[in-house]
Amino acid sequence: MEDNTSEAHVDSTLMSWGPENTFNRHLTDQWPYAIDANDIILYSGSDYVLPEYRKRGINTELYFFALSQFKYTIKRLASRNTTTKVKLLLLYGLSALSDYDHVGQGSSRTPLIAKIFYEFLQAINIPIFALVSHRFQSMWPIFDMKTSKFIFVKNENAALMYENVLIAYKEIKVN
């Protein structure tokens, strides 16, 4: 991780759901985080649904379907070591119009994406004790397909887009 990532970091939020699926965000100072060799990183590119097909849950189903393609791999990797804190990271970009503003106000697609991610992990029996969202602007954490590494790159459209990292902290089994 490069030294200037703290300047690129916008905010961190602890996420939770209450009764009747009420969504809660709590700003947290849980930063910086360290990426461990045991961590599992998923990178999601863009998604799009034709306007006339929206508001039918198609994107939600599609996200869940995509995650489901990796359920056996994720479960195997997440279960292989219970002595260290395995984190599951989901990286995705949001345009500024689809995300909270710079001070965390307004609306965002993150709660829905986080809910899908959380419910997916629940569905494959990976217990999670915390879900934290980190946002970046001037530098983006991305998964580099060519090098298969998690790297930070300069965001050429910093005013228009945020990169989000959802981190699910896996519970550790106590023997």
């Binding site: 599992i40 990178y43 799009y48 198609i58 599609l62 393609q69 949001l94 998964f143």
Partner: protein, 89 residues
Amino acid sequence: MKILLSSMGCFMTISFFASDINHSIQYSVATQKDIPSLLQLMDCARSSAEDCKRVVIAPAHVQEEYLKEGIEKQRIFIAKDTATDRIVG
């Protein structure tokens, strides 16, 4: 261990359906024959000023390069309207 949200899906042909009043939507992994329809979907997003602002889309030459390389299509998940065989998401 890093996983792209999509690789290895190419070995699975699992699809499932979600019905609503008017349509049945099939979810699957994109294949070679879906490429033209996928490019149309990207054009549709780019042709809408509002959607362009709301959807993070990689430059066309980047996406098409991956499509041509035969890599990315194995990692693209599609929603298809079975009534029209059109990719809708």
